[in-house]
Amino acid sequence: MSKKPESHYNLDKLHMIFAIAALIMLAAFGGLFMKDYDRSWKDYQRDFNGYEMEKTRVKHDSEYNALKNNKEYTTLLSEIEKAEKELSSNCSDMADLENEIVQLNTEYDLINQKAKFTNAEVDAAKYQFETAVGHHQGDAAATKTTFYNLKNKGDALKNDLETAKIKLDDKVAAKKNCTAKLDDLNRKKRNLSTKETLLLRKLKTIDPEQMSFITRIGNIIRDLPVIDMSNPTVKIKQVVLKDITDDRILTQVPKVDRCMTCHLGIDDPGYATFQQPFKTHPNLELYLSNDSEHPVEEFGCTVCHSGRGRGTSFNTTSHAPSSEKQKEEWEEKYDWKVDHHWEEPMLPIQNAQAGCFKCHSEQTPIKGAEKLNLGLQIIEKAGCYGCHDIKKYKDWPKAGPDLTKIASKTSKEWSYKWIQDPHKFRKNTWMPAFFNQSNNNDAASVKRSRQEIHAMVEYLFKNSEAFKLKNIPFKREPKNGEKLVSSLGCLACHQIDPKDTPTTRDSLRQQHGPNLLGLGSKTSKVWLFHWLKDPKRYHPETRMPSLRLTDQEAADIAEFLGNDSKKDFDKTLVPPVDKTVINEMTFDFLHKMEPAPTAKAKLAKMSLNEKLVYSGKKLISQYGCYACHDITGFDGAKPIGTALTEEGEKSLHKFDFGFVHIDHSKHAWFDQKLKDPRSFDKDKVKTAHDKLVMPNFELSEEEREAVVTALLGFVSERTVKNKKKARTPENLMVEKGQTLVRQLNCKGCHIMEDEGGSIQQSIIDWLVKYKEYERGEAQTIVTSFAPPNLIGEGKKVRPQWLFDFLHHPTPIRPWLNTRMPTYTYTASQLNGLLKYFTALDDEEFPFTDKVDTHMSKAEFEAGEKLFSNDYFGCAKCHIVGDKMPGGSPDSWAPNFALSKERLKPEWIIEWMMNPADLLPGTKMPTYFDPDNFDVSGPDDLLNGDEHEQIRVLRDYLMSLSENPETSPQNESTPPTE
């Protein structure tokens, strides 16, 4: 045994243990580098690079072949070849020339260097001289001499230099001259093959086949762990946004989006057919691309789509599945889980438009976001803002009718049955159902519900004010009534027999008022007559306008509408009043305020009617009926629902999912709430007062999806406030006008901002039914019989005229059967509309007349000629005063007598230049061809000057007022508020 140094441990063993420990550590180190290196986005980028390579190869091949088959190119090639050959023969002294150039170049360089050095000295001497004079330092005279001596030397050198340059340039020019043709050809070749060159260049960086062997090795090495810090082919891509922030609760930080690390083809139109994550964005015109309104470098991705933009793996980015199926797929494929620590998960694709509302909440509808628009319109229609505070809908009128005079309109029985189940009377009514819902359809609740309805009806009728009904004309013609309903324009806002078609924004406009089915069951013909004659008398706040009906017209319509009644509805019985339940109920309400003995004593003193009225009031308060209806005794009552202004960003833990098994996501919760508003009471023990009360609007799946989209969009704007459209006065005018337009349902008749005119379908029906047109023909001429298109109205008409017209509509198109109704606007509403039209067309407000329309006699005559049938024949279509044109009314055009008061002179000029440009699809012919404007007009008038012709014609038209003598001067000043 060799003697070992004494130690407690066996050193050999220690070496072994140390070696093993070190090896384990080394392996762990390997694991560390592996773990860091292995990222899912790298795989995506590699896949994408593969696709990109193949695509580029294909592109390059086709470009290359195209080039080969391009005659221009091939001839160019042969020409170049020829030119090269010629070069050697034509420029035989090329070699000499080049030698000479080298020689001259050297000479030039030498002189240049000398000149440069001398110049440097001159500059320094100049400084010396200047400071000597300026600061009175040193010897000015001496520095002056040095400076000028040097300057002379420098100038001489400059001369030499210029001479040398000329010599050199001569030779260079000579050489250039020689090669000029070749150079030119080469340039042409380069221009022709730019695309191919670029593709080839790209291929050289991504396609191993195009690389040299050593580059291929470098290409592999660059992506190796650790070395990949320098110049990897796969790297994280991101945008950092200055103006859009991520919400960090206490502060806002610039948004960082890295989505494009995996979604690599998102802005490349070539990937439209690919699967995610490479698929192209469906709307590159509006998003991502440089020229779009939302370039990715300024807006990123998550500002619209939400999600965690900084993430670079599937789960850390907070992807959200759009369906159960996708969810399962993701769970399997990506081990997808909900990220509970990120409050803004990605919007499911079907709700993606919610993102638009963040920035565009002021001016709605938002172009392109149809689902969101639909959701908003449903919210407006259903009157959600009555119970739920929504900032956008502050000050909106109540959604339902006035109930303060209900006794004159309908009966207690009908009211009972209506409240009990409104959808039974009208299947698509917007009055929601409060009873027989999932939390009150058990026997006990039904028993109580019956008495609750009795109490509420009793309260309403007890507090109903008097409404005097006078006599209705005795002779009434329902047939005429029907005809009037279909022609006057009622159907812009009302439907009679709604069909089961999917809800669209158009169909919602036609449901602006209630559908008119079964009015006979609901009310009397006398009431209808008075309502039609003057809706404001019954309900001062009503949105129903007056159509200026004569007594006979109103009576006929009342007769027609009142004849329709719902027999089976009428037959259903109203259950009797149950005193015990009423007692219990009243006691419950009393007991809430007072101790049981007092409550009992009070109850004992009350009559049955008093009990009903008392509980009725409490119930109306509980269900929030007053949120949609004017009810006596509820002035100024507060809304009962949750505020929704920022509901979309409410944190998920604030939502009570109860015992309902749905996805834990906001959109699922919203959907469930809309589908069955009371379902979150499921399996919960609650008293009648504590139950959820949100009524059921029986929305279809599509409708719910739209509303959910809108709700998800209701978020605070603090992350985007630097990017939002400025709230300039003009924008505010548009915003206010758009609100009015929706409240008054202008788009029910008119086309404005590229949409609306919902009435046209019913006009087609009318043309077919009463004017005996074929349906196809009716469709083509319907615009002639429909209310006018208001595109460019702000540019077209004078605000003063518009003010007068809206106030007292006078017919401009006498051939139309639809009537512009008389609304009773407030001053602010009227002004709002005027400003809306002017702001929409970027016009000045108030309008000032700057055009002098006086004509000389010669001009007047020329105008008259142009107007006459010899030339344009304007009166063939246009009405002049009370002179109707010939032909069928579908070709008629507005009355010229109104021109002066109505139209802006500048507009007339533009209009005549190119009508189709201002109003696409107009009937007005184009007299001055915009493509050949200078030769388009007649040559024999006004020296053939088209601009003059148009001006004179305009001035002539302006003189065609009905009473030239009495027509006022053009000094209309628009109204001020």
């Binding site: 050297t106 360089d109 030498l110 260097q113 440097a120 500059d123 320094a124 600061h135």
Partner: protein, 371 residues
């Protein structure tokens, strides 16, 4: 008075100042016996007596006080970040005098066979408490008081907020790197900014291994280690501190030279007519175009470098540094000589620039390689 300032401004230019300092340097700090004897003959060693010390104090302080009467001088000297450098200047002069004063004393004692002063002191031992700890405490309090007064009277500079698009003219590195920045005038950044700092670090670390003279450890002496001290002071005073002072006080807008009494005129123009060695050889001397081949173009430069770093050490080893070579051996000698040649390359390059406008000896901008 103005004329005197003009003269000072003129003298302060690196070309003149550096040349002058270099000219007298080895007489004041003689590295060899021969120079040492001249130093004695000239009486330059008298600088390191009390009288010499007073002379140094009067001259430097006098110049400084006189300078303060000039607006431009005041402006640059009292700039907050420059104040420590002024302090450094005085401290260095004083300490230089202090150690050479002691060295002279010791040298005398050693010549008399008495051994240095320190050896005598060291015979006696004292207790750390209170002798050392207490003077340490006093030193701390004095320095604290000084820095506090300094802090109270001189606010720390704070300029406008950082703006990457507007560079101040001149842009200067922190003062302790201004020596390197000054070298940028003569060398490419990779030499001035990377090679030299590295060489300085390595060189300093190598000092104990190159200086194998066993004498002079633990006491002040000059005579016993003339060569070491002379070379060290040459590097430390001339190639480091002098360049820092120049860079700090005498470099203005566009890194142009400005005398201590000169106004920093942003429009000042200096003659810039620098050329590369290749241009000098081919274009000026031979009137030819530069060859296209890089190696042919730069062959003279490479040859010069080869001679300087290859041949010169050998020659020196046989002549001037024979003794050094003998005592160090080939390996240590090569380290020493390369370090020394690198250090000397700086003044050489300076003179090449001033004398011949040489910009680079080897200029291959294609590979960022300029020497």
């Amino acid at each position: 008075m103005e004329n005197f300032k003009e003269i000072i401004n003129f003298i302060a230019a690196p070309q003149i100042m550096f040349t002058a300092l270099l000219a007298v340097f080895f007489f004041i700090f003689p590295p060899t016996d021969w120079l040492y004897s001249i130093n004695r003959k000239l009486g330059l060693h008298k600088l390191w007596t009390k009288g010499g010390g007073i002379f140094l104090l009067v001259v430097t302080l006098g110049f400084f006080i006189f300078g303060l009467t000039d607006e431009n001088f005041r402006l640059i000297v009292t700039k907050a970040d420059n104040v420590p450098i002024v302090g450094l200047l005085f401290l260095v002069i004083f300490l230089l005098w202090l150690c050479l004063f002691q060295a002279e004393n010791n040298d005398k004692r050693i010549a008399e066979g008495k051994g240095p002063m320190e050896a005598e002191d060291a015979k006696e031992k004292v207790l750390v408490w209170p002798d050392l700890v207490y003077i340490e405490l006093i030193a701390l309090v004095i320095v604290s008081a000084l820095t506090l007064i300094w802090a109270i009277s001189l606010p720390a500079p704070l300029e406008g907020p950082a703006n990457p698009t507007v560079s101040p003219n001149p842009s200067k590195a922190p003062w302790y790197f201004l020596g390197l920045q000054e070298m940028l005038v003569y060398f490419d950044p990779w030499i001035a900014g990377v090679l030299f700092p590295t060489v300085i670090i390595i060189g300093f670390m190598a000092i104990p291994f190159i200086d194998n003279n066993p004498k002079g450890s633990g006491y002040y002496t000059f005579k016993e280690r003339k060569m070491a001290i002379s070379i060290f002071l040459f590097l430390w005073l001339l190639l480091w501190l002098f360049l820092i002072m120049t860079g700090t006080f005498l470099r203005g807008p566009n890194w142009n030279f400005f005398g201590p009494f000169e106004y920093w005129d942003i429009h000042k123009v200096e003659v810039l007519t620098n050329i590369n060695l290749s241009e000098l050889v081919y274009m000026i001397w031979q009137n030819k175009a530069l060859p296209d081949n890089i190696f042919i173009r730069e062959m003279y430069g490479f040859a010069a470098l080869g001679i300087y770093f290859g041949l010169l050490p050998l020659i020196l080893a046989k002549t001037v540094f024979r003794k050094v070579y003998d005592s160090l051996g080939p390996f240590r000698y090569s380290v020493f000589i390369v370090l020394l040649l690198l250090a000397v390359s700086l003044p050489i390059k300076m003179f090449l620039r001033w004398g011949f406008n040489i910009k680079y000896i080897v200029a291959i901008p294609e590979f960022f390689l300029n020497i």
